[in-house]
Symmetry: C2
Subunit: 302 residues, 2 copies
DNA sequence: GCGGCACATGAAATCGATTTCCAAAATACT
DNA sequence: AGTATTTTGGAAATCGATTTCATGTGCCGC
């Protein structure tokens, strides 16, 4: 060890990786790093990975299937041992006659799910989230509830909508198709949605935004148009990003357990890599309604 | 190539890296991924790296010097070819009698600088930012301007403060020490700062927050206390994160060219790695004052 | 027709840690 | 004491692409 110190020897991890056939890297594939809801997930993935001796390679796919596919190839080239992906596409060709597990490398679907069975998934119950948010509004007396959804191609958005409709249905409230605006989870789509929705003759008394960013854009547009929140209109959303409590007014939102999702993803993936069988194939974590000031009873509601 | 297709051969990048002594990975060291101002930087680093054949390994240092040092060791172990760091600490022992460049691996200081010469740096002129923000407020007639700064140990904060004081000085305005609150760039510190500052007998008419997150916390606290922005008090800050335009009111802020910073960092680092000499040792990029609705002239100001 | 040169081909060495292998030494057991 | 088992030590093979080296082939010019 004295000599090691003297000549400043450090082991070459690449050589070790080559011999062992393991890179001790995991890739995290994200359509967009900029969405603040992803930061706590990445942060906790990083923390757990670090703890278990792995490094995290971050890949911004810009939601481009081509890029996704090229990143996935990093498993074959041995640059990474496994993948956490926040996309609903799994860029592998799966044939139905063999078990899925044999056809793919270690992979975990985070928060945003693909529709393939046999893939490990960690996330929330988006149907329940849609239902809970809607029930909160219904309890406050709202019946004209608009939605600003995510892209209709995205499962999480479809499921939240499903929960929304189920809750309306159970309450015996009919849904007006004109109160739906399809956005893309961005703040801009929140703005656009509000502009469209508030032109209606029969305006909504509440808007259910499918993401906190959307809600922030929506609230901005509402303020511009001179509406008061929550006096004139209530806003509820999903995600529970840190900044949601600093909105004006602080945002009522169904929070996802982001840190927990990250932890579970990393744990599951590394278990898979190391040949341990993860406890669950599908790991649904609890969400939580954070009731803040952006929702209120409709005027005259007892 | 037909055989390659048939047996599904993919080259093992690890083997290539071992032989070539290059991993084609670069590390990005960040004290906290969660700060939204860092996302566009990371995103563009990733994009440029991708374009030039490199992958980005993300490391959340949690501002812990110990972790930083261990991550830096990844250069020695050949896991990464170079480092972009957002910290003001450079975890290398530098002796003064040899050129710095010979003692460190390829490294680029992003946005947050260390005080060591000879390190490549990409960022903004924080003194000028402090000055510009202050002059904007002065032009609106404000003279009782409070600051909610970053940690006093952080260079960017010190420099913004320096610019602030210089601008006040040039305008012949004396600075009241009680109007300074030392925060830590977090939203919480914005809240705390406002609570403290608004207890003063002689309250400020404007607050200069040293980050957008800080401003969002500060505006939240001000609203809670019943102040109107910008009627009762003006708020200005620094960063120019995407969400700043959706604040209530939209935030006047001195925007950093975040995407550009990321691009330049990646370009400079990869040039260093590949033996090309980067154009500049210190690369200062232009900032821009975004005048929005959170600042207004003091009442009765012409 | 033959030396000289560029180019192509294939075998062998290389990167550096891990793993395997074999022989030698140390310990255990009857 | 003698065999069986474990431990130890060091040499050699291994991972797979890159690089080097040594041939062999083809083409040019004199």
């Amino acid at each position: 060890m004295k000599v090691v110190e003297e000549i400043g020897y450090t082991p070459n991890r690449l050589a070790a990786s080559l011999r062992q056939g393991r890179s001790y890297n995991i890739a995290v594939l994200l359509p967009d790093i900029s969405n603040p809801y992803i930061s706590p997930i990445v942060r906790s993935v990083e923390r757990v990975a670090q703890l278990r001796g792995y490094s995290v390679i971050l890949k911004d796919t810009q939601d481009d299937p081509e890029l996704e596919r090229s990143f996935t190839a990093m498993v074959n080239t041995r640059q990474v041992d496994g993948i956490i992906t926040n996309s609903q596409r799994i860029p592998f060709d799966i044939s139905a006659d063999r078990p899925v597990a044999d056809q793919i490398p270690p992979i975990v679907n985070a928060s945003e799910f693909c529709d393939l069975d046999g893939i490990h998934k960690v996330g929330v119950d988006n149907v329940a989230i849609g239902r809970d948010a809607t029930e909160h509004l219904l309890q406050l007396g709202h019946t004209r509830i608009a939605t600003i959804t995510g892209p209709s191609s995205i499962l999480s958005s479809k499921q939240r909508e499903q929960g929304f409709l189920a809750a309306l249905n159970e309450a015996g409230v009919a849904f007006d198709e004109r109160l739906k605006f399809e956005g893309d989870y961005s703040s801009e789509s929140g703005c656009d949605g509000v502009q469209k929705l508030m032109q209606l003759k029969n305006r909504p008394t509440a808007i259910f935004c499918f993401g906190d960013l959307v809600a922030m854009g929506a609230m901005h547009a509402l303020r511009e148009l001179g509406y008061r929140i929550p006096d004139d209109i209530s806003i509820i959303s999903v995600d529970g990003i840190a900044l949601s409590q600093y909105c004006a007014p602080p945002l009522t939102t169904v929070a996802q357990p982001l840190t927990l999702i990250g932890e579970q993803c990393a744990t599951t993936l590394i278990d898979l890599i190391e040949g341990r069988k993860p406890e669950k194939l599908i790991n649904i974590l609890p969400h939580q309604l954070l009731t803040r000031a952006s929702t209120a009873p409709i005027p005259g509601f007892t």
